[in-house]
Structures are given as C-alpha cells and as structure tokens.
Symmetry: none
Subunit: 409 residues, 2 copies
C-alpha cells in the first residue's frame, strides 16, 4: 500500500510552525508495514490543495491529510477531498448537536462558522475527536482511501492511535504487535550501538530506537498472520532487550516517568515532596500532570533565592555563604528540610545552574545537585547536563523521576 501524507496549512509551508505530525504519522505507518512514499505541504488555498490531492490520487493508495478541518474561512480540506472525488458535503446532525452542546457546556458563544465542522463528505465515516470539535473523516472511494485528520497534535495523535491504527491494521490483514521498552539514564547512541546487530539484520520484528530528553525508547514491531504468530516472533527479541538494558528500564508502552513514579508511590502508600531551585516548579508540575497525583504529593516548594532557601526550608545561611546555593551541602539541607516540613516520606531537592548565564569555570552551566531524603538517610548526587536552559531543566526533571523510580522499585 503506497501512502502519501499531505500537510495542509500555510503556517506549515511558511515555517511558522514545525510539522511534527507528519513524522509521527510516517513512523507509525511504516511500523504497520505501510510504505510512506511522499510527503507534501501546501498552503490553505483551495486550488493548491485540489492539485495536490489530484496528484496523490494518481500515485498513491492511501492519502492522509493533516489540518484544514477547522471552522474558519481558510479551512478547505473537506471541500477539496469531496471535490476530487465528485462528492458533496452533507451536514451530520449528530455532530452538529455535539458541537452545540459543547459550546453550551463551556458557556461560550458559538459563531455560525463553527457548525461547518459538522459537514462531512457524503458516503464517508466521521471519526470522533475526543480532544477537539472537528471530527476526522474516513473515505473509501474508487479503490483509494482518504483519511482526513485535524491539525493540532494533541487531537491528531489520540485519534490516530485509538481510531485509525486499528482500522489500518485490520485493512492490511496483518497482525501487528508492538512493544516499547522505556529506558532512562542511557543515551540513544549507546543503545543503538548495542542493538546494531539486531537493528540491521532482523527484519521481523522491526527494532527501532527513539531519543527523548533523558530517555530512550526501544520499539519492537512484529508482524504475523495471527496474533499468536506475532507474539512468538516478538518474545525472544523483547527478552534480549530486557536483558541487555535491565538496569535502565523504567516502564513499557504508554508508561511515563511521572506516571510510573506516581504508580509506585501509590503502591507503597508513600508521599513525596520537592524543593526546587533551578527547575522552578517543573518537577512538581510534571508529577501533577498525572491524574490522581494528590494521593502521593501535597507539597512543593520553589525556593528560587538564597533567602527563601533559608526562610522556607531552613537551609543554613552559613552554608549558603560558604559553599554557595549550588552545592552538595545545600541540596542535602533542602531535601531534608522539605521532607520534615511536609511530613512526606521522601523529600527531593534540586539546585543548579540552568543557564544561559550564571556559570563559571568551577560551577559550569548544567551543573545540578540533587538531594534525596528519607527518614533513614539523606544522600546527594551530582549531574552535569548538556544543552540549553530548557534541556538542562528537562534533564533534571527526568533524572529526579528516574532516581525516585529506582528507589521505589
């Protein structure tokens, strides 16, 4: 099956936004055994979109469009897909009702153009959008398949994962089994190098590595004629990966560092508190990304100045003037201080230099100390992260969550 992805959106062509949807879809489709051959970006212009669709219809079997499904004047995708297939748009009353409801519930005024999102291509299947108002569209005509997806990544990804992927798996007639092993504390190039033999030589399952800040994911995709066959093919390679990287594994598939941390804390009936300096609230924010975090977290402090470190969590002013805020000693006191103050089982602190300013020869940008305090002991760890301010802070958050997970396991 030859697949073409068309990203519709002037802001994509002009470079005002970077298209992350198309690479995401490409990876997913290829892991399903679908050949993504062409990727095109076009502006929000009806004629241009129509030309791109006409060409796609000639050379591809599966055409996926991204964007242009909204309620505004320059949203043309549905019209043009209808047009190149000689079809009309029809209003779906069920969707129209859902849209009206949504605006009522949130107390917002609905402008008339919002209802255009309820117009679908005749003969097509609308695809529910659980994260936005514009439904997706699935159209099968003349041996071609068109899938129209909404532009915002937080709407496109769940829609693809939950609705499109199962449909495509069914369509290809194959059974695909995917397993992602999530690693923390090891770089992608190490992992890739270690798995080089498997990545190059083994065609089924496909083994691929993905780098994220502070994490590396190993995805195995096995293909078989039945689910049992796919499982049999996957199992030995999954085991190889688990053995090779056992001490770095924190979870699988949709696990996240924060989700895993909250899960393990809940299991043990423990609470954690944070005292942050350089991360400025990022760790507390990340833990509370997880619904139900209130079972395991109730206190976070952002002590962004020396004075606040003393005043709020009792760090000694003498230590601060002697060794400075970015030091083992201060990290130690911050962690112990917030644990005692909050009554949590674990208190974790971070103090460091996120950059771009603030570094020196002795204490460079990226230097971070973490304090980890429990009733039995308080230890510290030193890190030197690379990258810009954002990267240093994100790496720190991930290192803290990894440390928490490792302690709890």
């Amino acid at each position: 099956m030859i697949c073409e992805i068309i990203s519709v959106g002037t802001e994509v062509v002009t470079g005002d936004i970077i298209d992350t949807n198309a690479p995401y879809l490409s990876k997913e489709l290829i892991s399903l055994g679908i050949d993504v051959m062409f990727r095109v970006s076009v502006r929000d212009d009806d004629e241009t979109i129509r030309q791109a669709l006409t060409l796609a219809k000639e050379r591809s079997d599966l055409i996926i469009t991204i964007g242009g499904l909204g309620p505004t004047y320059d949203d043309f995708t549905k019209e043009e897909v209808a047009s190149v297939n000689g079809l009309k748009l029809v209003r779906d009353e069920k969707i129209a009702l859902k849209i009206k409801d949504y605006f009522e519930k949130t107390g917002r005024v609905m402008t008339e153009n919002n209802l255009s999102q309820a117009d679908i291509i005749e003969g097509s299947n609308p695809i529910d959008n659980d994260n936005g108002t514009a439904p997706g569209i699935l159209l099968e005509k003349d041996g071609k398949t068109f899938i129209l997806l909404p532009g915002p990544p937080n709407e496109l990804k769940p829609m693809f994962e939950n609705k499109i992927k199962p449909y495509l798996i069914n369509k290809t007639g194959k059974f695909i089994l995917e397993r992602t092993v999530k690693l923390s504390g090891i770089g992608e190039s190490f992992v890739e190098n270690d798995l080089k033999d498997l990545i190059l030589k083994v065609k089924n399952p496909i083994i691929a590595t993905y780098a994220k800040t502070g994490e590396c994911h190993v995805k195995l995709t096995a293909e078989g004629n039945t689910m049992e066959e796919a499982q049999k093919i996957l199992a030995p390679y999954l085991e190889k990966v688990e053995i090779r990287f056992s001490k770095y594994i924190y979870g699988y598939d949709s696990d996240t560092l924060s989700g895993k941390a909250v899960e393990l804390l809940k299991k043990k009936g423990m609470k954690v508190s944070f005292c942050e300096s350089c991360t400025g609230g990022f760790i507390s924010k990340t833990i509370t990304d997880v619904p139900g975090a209130s079972d395991v977290f109730d206190c976070g402090m952002v002590t962004y100045s020396n004075e606040m470190k003393s005043r709020l969590v009792g760090v000694s002013p003498i230590a601060l003037s002697k060794v400075g805020a970015v030091s083992e000693e201060v990290a130690h006191q911050m962690a112990k201080g917030v644990r005692c103050l909050s009554g949590a089982d674990i208190g974790i602190s971070v103090t460091g230099i996120a950059g771009p300013g603030g570094g020196s020869d002795e204490k460079p940008v990226g230097l971070v100390y973490m304090g980890f305090s429990t009733p039995t002991s308080t230890v510290t760890k030193r890190f030197h992260f690379r990258g810009n301010r954002e990267k240093v802070r994100q790496s720190t958050v991930n290192a803290v969550l990894s440390a928490l997970i490792n302690y709890l396991k």
Copy 2:
C-alpha cells in the same frame, strides 16, 4: 517569484528525523518576499527525485533542494537536477583539491566516492561550504533558478545566511515588513470573525490569524519597493488591529506571556510570588523559563492539599471545610498568604479542578479561581476553562500571566 522546497532524504519521509531546514528556509524566503508555495519530501530514489524536480520545474520559478549532496551511492540530487535540465556533471578541480586537502589535514582516509562531491552541474556556480565537504550549487537555466543545499542544518543555515540570502535579496528587489500582534484572552474564531473584512479583501498587507492555547496571534505582512513604502503600507492596518483588540494585546513579534511579565516586573522593580494548587508548579515553571526571572521571582508554593494550604500559607481550616478549597475565599487567602510570606509585591494564587476527575454539578472540571493580592487590595476572579487536564492547566497559566501583565501595564 514562486518557490518550491524539496527535501531529499528517506529519513525525512519516514519520520526518523524532523525536517527543521524547510521551515527555516520558508520563513527566511517569505521575509524576502518570495512566495513559498510548495514543500515536498521525497526518498533517496533517483526516479522519485526526478519526478519531483520535473513537476517543480513546471509550477515554480525558484526550486530549492535540501540534501542528497553527499558522497554515498544514494546521493542523487545533483545528477537529477542536471538530468531534468539536459545537462552533465563536470569535475571542478579546485573543489577536488579542497576536498583532498581537508582529508589530509584531518588525518582521515579519503575514499574515492568522496571526490564525487567535486562534480558540479555544467554551467552552474558552486557555493562554498564552510562547514562541510559538499559544496552547494546555484543553477540558472531557462528562466528557472535551482539552488541545491546540503542536508545538515549546521551547513545549510550558514550557507543560506551568508551566500544565498544576499543573492536573493538582489534578485527580488523587494522589501518585506512583518509584524505579529499577540493577543490573550480571546479565541481565534472571534478574532478572525472580527477581521473578516480585512483578511479577505486586503492583499497587501496579508493578514492572518494563528491560534495557540490561550492566545491568538495576528500576523501582518507588507510588501513594498523600499522599506519606507512597506512601512507606510503596514501602518494603517496595524493600527486598525491595535484599536479593535486593544484590551487583549500583550505583546508583539517574539514576545511571550512569561517574557513580557518578567520584563514589566523588572521595569517596575517588583517581585511576584505564586501559590498554586491545580497548576501544581506550572506557573512558577513558566515564569522561570525566562532567563533572569530571579530578578522578579524568588518564591513559589505548591499547596496541593487542604492541610498544606493551611500549614504553609495560613488558609483558615474553617473556610476550607465551609466552602471548600476551590472557592473565592480560599483563593483570596492563598494569594494574600503567599504575598505576606514571601515579601513579594504581588501574590497570585490558583485553586481549581483540572480534571479529569474531581468535578461535580456545582463545581465542574475546568472551574478555577485566581487570587491576586497586592498591599492595597486582594481580588479574585472566576474562570471556567474547557478541554482536558493539560489544556485546563495551560489555560490557567496563560490567564494568570495575562492578568499580571494587565495589572502591570
């Protein structure tokens, strides 16, 4: 001048790498008044590349290719650009010498295929690559212009900035002026509806709206024969937008809500502190995204439970049991509490229900109270945000920063 960008590279089509070169080039070209109309990604396959170039030659005036200039067997770009123009490749001895030199200097062994990088299209101009071995190529033929650029961003960007941009500015003879007006607290469909007349009727400047969570940007792009002319064309429309949306404007161009807030606080020599519940540290994290935030921020509290609200910032336990944590009264006490505790000039609190759980008929998911405390007064504001947990939290952060900016202006 109609421009098309062709990214050559299998790893781009498969999504293994995210193409940042094309968006970068698009932005630069558009700011030079060159209409980037099409963006295409193709695999490292000679036939596919040739087809893409043939189509490009029909519909575009300026064709820019990215990648495929290297020494390996799957680098086809030069060959195919030569082919669609009926030209040959000829070895440039000066470049060949430069390549041989480079390998000697760095003590690396040169394989024969490396010399293929010295083959250029007959009649073209090679473009020096100061950061790699493969030169770029500039070819003008039959009224079309082809520019072949290397794939690695650290080679492409300097080459474009230093060599291509001056050439293109000279070629177009136009001046482009861009201005983005940034709004907060108003949805994109309202803004677009209001500007409908201008967006549709006015061709110069081009006016477009872009939606972000909690924000809406209005971009105006004017074109003239001189910079003064472009400015004259832009000014009246910029003024119209400013008048229509005056109470929602928080900044321009590269301003961000957090950056603007920090800037205004610095100007006034003021400090802010936050007491967060539902946002869990997100506001403090966002303020500290800005380098230099330590001049205006030193204390953030995450009081994620009722007990912590009492213990850390002095919220009355009676109020908590009477009206609950998500209430005007508690928001009021949290804001006042953190301000007095920290000694900051402004204390801001948020307490609400981020979801997905925790909502009720009386207090639904998305309900958030903000407290805003200064030495002269403490006020509260009620919000009802829509969307999932992430959206509610992000919307809350943006609403707080908007309120802070409005107060400071």
